[in-house]
């Protein structure tokens, strides 16, 4: 049994699941729009928290946030449930599928058998949609995979109840109700406002452009402070956080720029359209940073030093700050 569900690949799993689910219910919003309206662009540097022995550097808000924001902004009614009983979590999924409801769920990545081996690590905030069952296999729309995939009953149960940080606890969610009229304009403005707030207006050194600036200072001292081997590992960690599936530094800047393009048409703002290209430039700078960081991490013969990386990050924080400041100005003039 397979629900007629259109699987589209995306740059980021949560956007992708949201966009795919909405399209199923006749609301055609792109991944970029989901990302922008849900204010998915973010940065935080939390040196006091460690992930796999590295300081936490997040290029995204907490998992689940984008979906929650979108459903609230568009007025969707979402059913969400976590389970303690594994069998029940599976039975209720089966019942859902029988009713023809494509069901989103949070899963751990490590035991996703269809994943490329190098991407299989213990990370518990991946999103997929299950939209069918054939024999013992579930039909899975995983936004980072090109094709529709399959997972056996045992595998799906295992990933839904993965252990470790932020256990998914069988969490599943689906759309219960969708309003007849959807006000995209309002949601866009709300998304833009929140983006400016989260990246530009949060006081303290660790969030948004301030966080990028803070990291730019700290990274210069990493080799002295931690030694060459650890410093390299940390730099590699930034690049992985930045460019790996489910996160994104440069990629997210391009995605946000794509959102600015689409949004500029809907809210009819030439300024916003022009600003999109500024954001593209920021994305290009993040890419150059990744190239330099990658060289250092691999220990290639290179002119770049940790100071170079610091300079690049400082420059990024300034140009990204400029984009947010401009968005703020555009929003102000719109209110008049």
């Amino acid at each position: 049994m397979r629900i007629d569900f259109d699987h589209k690949m995306s740059a980021h799993c949560e956007n992708g699941v949201t966009s795919n689910l909405l399209r199923f219910y006749g609301v055609d919003v792109s991944e970029a729009m989901v990302f922008g309206m849900g204010s998915g662009i973010f940065f935080s540097y939390l040196p006091f928290l460690k992930l796999n022995g590295c300081p936490v550097i997040a290029f995204r808000p907490l998992p689940g946030v984008i979906f929650r924001r979108i459903s609230k902004a568009l007025g969707l009614k979402i059913f969400t449930k976590k389970y303690s009983d594994r069998e029940k979590a599976m039975t209720e999924l089966d019942e859902n599928l029988k009713k023809g409801i494509p069901t989103g769920m949070v899963v751990g990545v490590y035991d996703l058998t269809y994943f490329p081996p190098m991407f299989r690590f213990h990370f518990n905030a991946h999103n997929i949609v299950v939209f069918g069952k054939e024999g013992n296999d579930y039909i899975v729309s995983d936004p980072v995979m090109e094709q529709v995939e399959k997972l056996s009953y045992e595998d799906l149960k295992r990933v839904r109840f993965a252990m470790g940080l932020a256990k998914p606890k069988g969490k599943m969610y689906y759309v219960e109700n969708i309003p007849k009229e959807i006000d995209l304009k309002k949601s866009i403005i709300k998304g833009l406002k929140r983006t400016v707030r989260d990246n530009y207006l949060v006081p303290g050194p660790i969030i948004g452009v301030n966080g990028i600036k803070y990291l730019s200072k700290k990274i210069r001292n990493w080799p002295q402070k931690y030694g060459e081997k650890i410093a390299k590992k940390y730099v590699g960690h930034i690049v992985r956080m930045q460019e790996e599936i489910g996160t994104g530094g440069a990629g997210f800047r391009f995605l946000f720029a794509a959102f600015l393009q689409e949004a500029s048409v809907i809210i009819d703002s030439k300024e916003l359209y022009d600003l999109s290209f500024k954001m593209t430039e920021v994305g290009d700078k993040w890419r150059l940073f990744a190239v330099a960081a990658g060289r250092i991490c691999k220990g290639r013969q290179t002119v770049e030093t940790y100071d170079t990386l610091g300079d690049m990050l400082l420059d990024i924080s300034i140009s990204e700050g400029y984009v947010y400041a401009e968005i703020r100005n555009i929003l102000k003039t719109m209110n008049k």
Partner: protein, 133 residues
């Protein structure tokens, strides 16, 4: 980034299973989706992390072969776990798992307890626990 700048550096990171989605500007300055087989800095970062894990696995294997640690110590690294994660998958306390790393303690474990490791490592049979190849 323009469409023709989207990197296509293939290092078989995706094992032929999927590709990356990139957003890039087409010739009209409009954003469009381009698929990519990889990008060197990303390939490097991911394969570097992978190599670090492989090193840890080899170190663990050596300790088991030398008789200093029990096989589950190796399987823990092989499954990219740490003690805490292995403890939550088996339901043992962290200090119990650590005790089980001692070969003499491990050799005395009941079948029932070994079975919990078999399930945590997703093996078929208890004998697989002793296989460290």
């Amino acid at each position: 980034m323009k469409v023709n700048q989207v990197p296509q550096d293939d290092a078989n990171i995706f094992d032929g299973k999927t590709q990356d989605v990139q957003y890039a500007l087409d010739e009209n300055g409009k954003y469009t989706i381009v698929k990519s087989v990889g990008w060197q800095p990303k390939n490097d970062a991911i394969s570097h992390a992978w190599e670090l894990e492989q090193e840890k696995i080899e170190e663990a294997r050596a300790l088991v072969v030398a008789g200093k640690k029990s096989p589950i110590y190796y399987h823990m690294f092989k499954n990219l776990m740490d003690v805490k994660l292995l403890a939550s998958y088996t339901g043992f306390f962290v200090f119990t798992v650590k005790r089980h790393f001692k070969p003499n303690v491990f050799n005395e474990l009941s079948e029932k307890k070994l079975q919990r490791y078999v399930e945590a490592f997703r093996m078929k049979h208890i004998d697989d626990l002793y296989n460290i190849e």
